[in-house]
Amino acid sequence: MTENVAQEPVAKIQQTEVSERTLKSRMIRSLRQRPSRAIGLIILLLIVLAAVFAPLITPQAPEDTSLQLRLKPPFWSDESVSPYFLGTDQLGRDIWTRIVYGARISLAIGLLAMLVAGPIGVFFGLISGHRGGIVDATVMRIADAQLSIPSILLAVAIIAVLGRSLLILIVVLGITKWVEYARISRADVLKLKETDFVLASTVVGAKNNRLLFHHILPNVMTPIIVLASFSVAEMILAEATLSFLGLGVPPPTPSWGSMISDGRDYLSNAWWVSTWPGIAVLITVLAINFVGDWLTEVLHPRSIL
């Protein structure tokens, strides 16, 4: 691959010095110009609120089953039963309730897995770019090796071996995504190393660690923030996929992926069981991607795009 090392270091430094005030006004202006971003932000906030206040907006607990209420259709059908307006699944559980509680799982896993992947990736990226030599070669070769295994495959293998639990899922998803963070922060360190202010602090005698974490790290944060926003969406999709394969959160905890999987056996008589949770994933991921687009525009991190 080609690497564009040491390009426009000056521009990079300048844009990180943008003052609070202009950043805020840019954020608002961007939302006005592109309403899709504002809508994405609002929907994402609503999803977060729904997840936080789940018990207040759902009629029952997500695990409540009822044999009399098996596979009841959504509200527009004559056979629908109030208040289960999205219908019920094969165990008579309310699909709306399970989707709302499923949002808790999806958002929590998305965020926490990002918080695992980000620091690991940035740490190795910084060290790799800063030290160079054998450290750099080793880290980058491991990164290459990992990129040549499809991440879903890696996750499937680890989970099958270690078993299913929330913690394992978060750590595994985090591990499968550290590489992108490492690559981006490494590329930025390589650019920054040539800049005057880093040279200056080296001359003044700043120690390696201080240089890395006090001077270089703050300057690579912009692309990291943008990457983080998109990777939450990726993690949510990955979690849904693993749950669909039966390797996600163990039942009866509601997860969108396993709800879709459950519904596959009832496609001929109860289409709604698989359909609604998929729409929930779609809307959530779309909303996060819109917010990511917005952050990209407002912060414009040149280094990754």
């Binding site: 499809p150 499937v156 293998a157 289409w271 779609l282």
Partner: protein, 306 residues
């Protein structure tokens, strides 16, 4: 790209494949010794011990690793623990199905995504272009397996046009190929559009137009060729994502390929099969990236990789 650099690439690829091999070996053994999974519950302690030492599982992990490595060098990838036969043969048997699906999905992706991105860039603000972008946006946000389930619901259950799964004639291929290609197609469409929009404003395009070249020539010879670079590297990544996506897609459509074999073997802890299958997919991915790197120099002779 000269021969020396191709050689360097090959060596790098080989090291990577070796790393993948090592990592998978140790991951698969993290759960400990699988002896008990393969013997009846009433097996005597003696039988257990005998089986364990027969399989070499009583030795330290590092010794097991080097023993296995020695076998692999001689072309022996071990026996499948569930099917009995050679693990390599079992995986290779399933490979044509996965290749067929991946290649069809890949060709479909290129045939749809690049023209769609082109149209979206050349005629912005039209209904067609808006439609293309909305579909691309949805394609990237949709879980592939859900798209598969929804297609089965519509085309198999409701309309009865297509079979729900399995491998057979072209009708069996339609849905799995679309599902497998959807994410990549969405990504490539967006990239093509963005690349074209950037290039179309450049001076040499104005020059090409002002010397009276037909618009089609300007777009394809001048603009698309320059917009193609980021698309090419994304195509390389798309192959990797498709190979991973095959795991999910093959599971949804009961497609008898390597992806489904991996899921089944992981669940049965059939180490040798998982080992071979994962390394094989990694090698395919590495080779396709090498091809992309070489294509790079064809599309853009400026790149020399020194």
């Amino acid at each position: 790209m000269n021969l020396r650099l191709i050689l360097i690439r090959l060596v790098q690829g080989f090291i990577t494949a070796f790393l993948v091999f090592t990592v998978v070996f140790f991951i698969m053994r993290l759960s400990g010794d699988p002896t008990l999974l393969f013997l009846p519950p009433d097996a005597s302690q003696e039988d257990i011990e005998r089986f364990r030492s027969e399989m070499g599982w009583d030795q330290p992990l590092v010794v097991q690793y080097f023993n296995y490595l020695g076998d692999v060098v001689q072309g022996d990838f071990g026996k499948s623990l569930t099917y009995g036969g050679s693990a390599l043969e079992i995986v290779l048997e399933r490979l044509p199905a996965t290749l067929e699906l991946t290649i069809v999905a890949f060709v479909l992706t290129i045939l749809i995504a690049i023209p769609a991105g082109l149209i979206a860039a050349v005629k912005p603000n039209t209904l067609v272009s808006r439609g293309v972008m909305v579909v691309a946006l949805l394609g990237q946000a949709m879980p592939g397996f859900w798209l598969g389930v929804m297609m089965i619901l519509l085309f198999s259950v409701a309309l009865g046009w297509l079979p729900t799964g399995g491998r057979g004639g072209p009708t069996h291929l339609i849905m799995p190929a679309i599902v497998l290609g959807s994410w990549g197609a969405a990504k490539i469409t967006r990239l093509t559009r963005a690349g074209m929009l950037e290039v179309l404003g450049d001076d040499y395009i104005r020059t090409a137009r002002s010397k009276g070249l037909p618009e089609r020539l300007v777009l394809i010879r001048h603009a698309l060729r320059n917009a193609l670079l980021p698309i090419l590297s994304a195509l390389g990544l798309t192959v990797g994502i498709m190979l991973g996506g095959a795991i999910v897609t093959e599971t949804v459509f009961a497609w008898p390929g390597v992806g489904r074999l991996i899921v089944q073997s992981v669940l049965k802890r059939d180490f040798p099969v998982v080992q071979v299958a994962v390394v094989l997919l990694a090698v395919i991915f590495l080779v396709s990236n090498l091809v992309v790197d070489i294509l790079y120099t064809v599309v853009d002779p400026r790149i020399r990789y020194d």
